[in-house]
């Protein structure tokens, strides 16, 4: 195969990456703009980062988002893991197909519909919209993502591990906590991170189900942008991008290291 850089290859890569990242690069660049006008470059400055941290409205929204994210991701992980366990383990109960279809339906359901139906539900049961309702809504839609991630891990899980534990005298509950859970933990953790990320950047469902005093960061940014984009918002977004990027890079580096270590161990074991 020809691995050298042909002109065609370079062009397509540049175009592709420009298409993907040009908007983001622009946003990051303008977050360091001295000028208050977003589209006019007035020299380098980090002052918007300073004012950002003094903007109480934005900081409150960030705090709400973080709490909603952690709580909803945690509850969704528990529920999603239980659903995944049921779907992979008890394959012969009545209505399994219906049940699994229903668990995964929200994956493809338009967010507007999920949001609207949740809003109707909360109104019907007389639940005041606020922190609780956003969190419940986020649990609802992120749970199925966790279930998918955990289920795919469980499908390759060697059931004889559990049988071995029971054979050695561990009752089922103990077997679950000492064997099953530690082995599938990486999948559960990535399910949690996925749920957290989904909660972090959700705008549509939060708009439907949130109330006064529980404005999430995406909602706040969206509402401010409607009044005009400020460099402050650019700064907030840049920080968000940085957090996500660091998270993704860290996770892949850790994974890669583990993989390399594992390969090396296996080779060492083969040599005896």
């Amino acid at each position: 195969m020809n691995s050298s850089w042909s002109r065609f290859n370079i062009t397509s890569i540049v175009l592709g990456f420009a298409f993907l990242y040009l908007p983001i690069v622009l946003l990051v660049v303008f977050s360091f703009n001295e000028s208050k006008l977003v589209t006019v470059w007035g020299g380098f400055s980090t002052k918007w980062y300073g004012t950002l941290f003094q903007n109480k409205g934005l900081m409150d929204a960030a705090w709400v988002t973080a709490r909603v994210g952690v709580i909803s991701a945690t509850v969704a992980t528990v529920l999603g893991t239980l659903a995944a366990l049921t779907l992979t383990r008890y394959t012969r109960f009545r209505g399994r197909v219906l049940f699994s279809g229903m668990v995964f339906a929200p994956l493809v359901m338009p967010e507007v519909i999920t949001g609207l139906s949740l809003l109707l539900l909360f109104v019907a049961v007389g639940l005041d919209r606020g922190f609780l309702t956003v969190t419940l809504a986020h649990i609802t839609f992120s749970m199925c993502f966790v279930a998918v991630v955990v289920q795919s891990r469980l499908l390759t899980f060697d059931r004889s591990l559990e049988e071995a534990a029971m054979d050695l005298g561990a009752p089922p509950v103990k077997t679950f906590f000492q064997i099953t859970l530690p082995v599938i933990l990486p999948a559960i953790v990535s399910g949690w991170m996925l749920a957290f990320t989904l909660s972090l950047d959700d705008l549509v469902i939060a708009s439907f189900t949130s109330g006064p005093g529980a404005t999430t960061l995406p909602m706040k940014i969206y509402s401010q942008v409607r009044l005009g984009v400020t460099p402050e918002i650019n700064a907030a977004c840049t920080i968000l991008i940085a957090v996500v990027a660091v998270g993704v890079i860290a996770a892949s580096v850790v994974n890669k290291r583990r993989e390399v270590q594992r390969l090396r161990d296996e080779q060492a074991a083969q040599r005896g």
Partner: protein, 380 residues
């Protein structure tokens, strides 16, 4: 027929009518939906016995093991262990341990924690656990690997950890599901003898499931040959080989030549069998075949002699044929001899000397011969 005993020690509780079996399968049937994995099976295994369940895949041997371990319950019938009915007792309360085909080592635990897992469940004191783990590591010669994780071990080492883990609790019965299946041939042969030594040393009852007849023959005191969920024969390796109970067993274990025929005449233990090909076979092992009945005469290839000249032995059965194929295996040579009626007979001869005095080649005329006690008559 002369009796064929166990070649090992003088251990033969199954021939002692007073001996009480340790594990008893009583009319056990197991169905999975429409599929019958085990069909009305009865079997007795004695204490300290090395017992092998031998059969092709899908014959129900693994299901038997799983029912003994408690992962599956029989659909009907019962299983007794030391007189106690095992029905309803969950796997974690049964005094049996199992070594899994996949080894099922806990990937997130070190070797020593894997071995200690069962002991911890018993609530054993910490110092005792440490001592037992050290003993077990020594037993399987893995002392320096105690802190390693399973993925840092080779296949043979993993197999040893699995073994150490399953015997660490000193179970009454050790169940082994294809214990050597994942090892290469050379390692497998070594490990067979190690398993036998271990069983002697610990004085445990071993029940091993295998599809490898050589493995079963090498290790087991007795072998149960299973087919479609039913027992075809339970006997010592020698009996299974030299006195198979049926055509299935004769064909399943080792190589065999079978001649179809009718019992022309019989008296006491011996009979004459005339085949459709005009060949008459004298045999001393006629079993319960009655005169006139259709039977099969089975004889192992190594009991047939091949020579270029007609043998002088007047007692022997002889037939003339042509060398059809020769397989030289080093330690022995297998000749395929085509008889007048077209039947190909396999005859193997040990290469005890480097250069044969009676060399045979393709398409040579040759004589096969065997003594009247060399084969058996099968009625089933």
């Amino acid at each position: 027929m002369k009796s064929l005993g166990s070649i090992r020690r003088s251990f033969a509780p199954w021939s002692d009518p007073a001996a009480k079996p340790y594990i008893v399968f009583e009319n056990v049937t197991k169905r999975f939906g429409d599929f019958t994995a085990v069909n009305d099976l009865s079997l007795s295994i004695f204490e300290r016995e090395f017992f092998a369940l031998l059969g092709a895949s899908g014959c129900g041997k693994s299901t038997l093991l799983r029912m003994l371990a408690g992962f599956d319950e029989p659909t009907s019938g019962r299983i007794l262990l030391d007189g106690q009915d095992l029905r309803g007792i969950p796997p974690y309360k049964r005094p049996v341990n199992m070594m899994f085909q996949s080894y099922a080592l806990f990937p997130h635990m070190t070797v020593e924690n894997n071995i200690a897992f069962g002991l911890k469940q018993e609530g054993m004191a910490k110092a005792d656990i440490e001592k037992r783990v050290a003993d077990m590591l020594k037993l399987v010669k893995l002392e320096q690997f105690a802190k390693r994780k399973p993925h840092q071990l080779s296949g043979g080492q993993r197999q040893r950890v699995a073994l150490a883990r399953s015997v660490a609790k000193r179970p009454k019965v050790l169940l082994l599901d294809e214990p050597l299946g994942a090892l290469d041939k050379k390692l497998r042969e070594e490990t067979q003898f190690e398993l036998m030594d271990l069983q002697q040393e610990l004085g445990l009852t071993f029940v091993v499931v295998t599809h490898d007849q050589e493995e079963a023959m090498t290790m087991a005191d007795r072998i149960a040959i299973l087919d479609k969920g039913e027992v075809m024969q339970v006997a010592t390796p020698t009996e299974v080989y030299e006195a198979p109970a049926s055509r299935f067993v004769a064909g399943f274990v080792g190589n065999v030549n079978m001649f179809e025929g009718k019992v022309a005449s019989r008296d006491a233990g011996s009979a004459r069998i005339s085949g459709g090909n005009g060949l008459t076979i004298k045999t001393e092992n006629a079993g319960d075949a009655s005169a006139g009945s259709d039977v099969v005469f089975a004889i192992r290839p190594e009991k047939i002699k091949v020579s270029s000249k007609k043998p002088a032995d007047a007692e022997a059965n002889v037939a003339e044929g042509e060398i059809y194929d020769i397989a030289y295996l080093g330690d022995m040579t297998v000749y395929h001899v085509r008889l007048a009626d077209g039947q190909v007979v396999k005859a193997s001869s040990l290469n005890a000397v480097r250069i044969s005095e009676d060399p045979l080649s393709w398409n040579d005329r040759a004589w096969i011969s065997f003594r009247p006690d060399a084969g058996v008559v099968l009625t089933r």
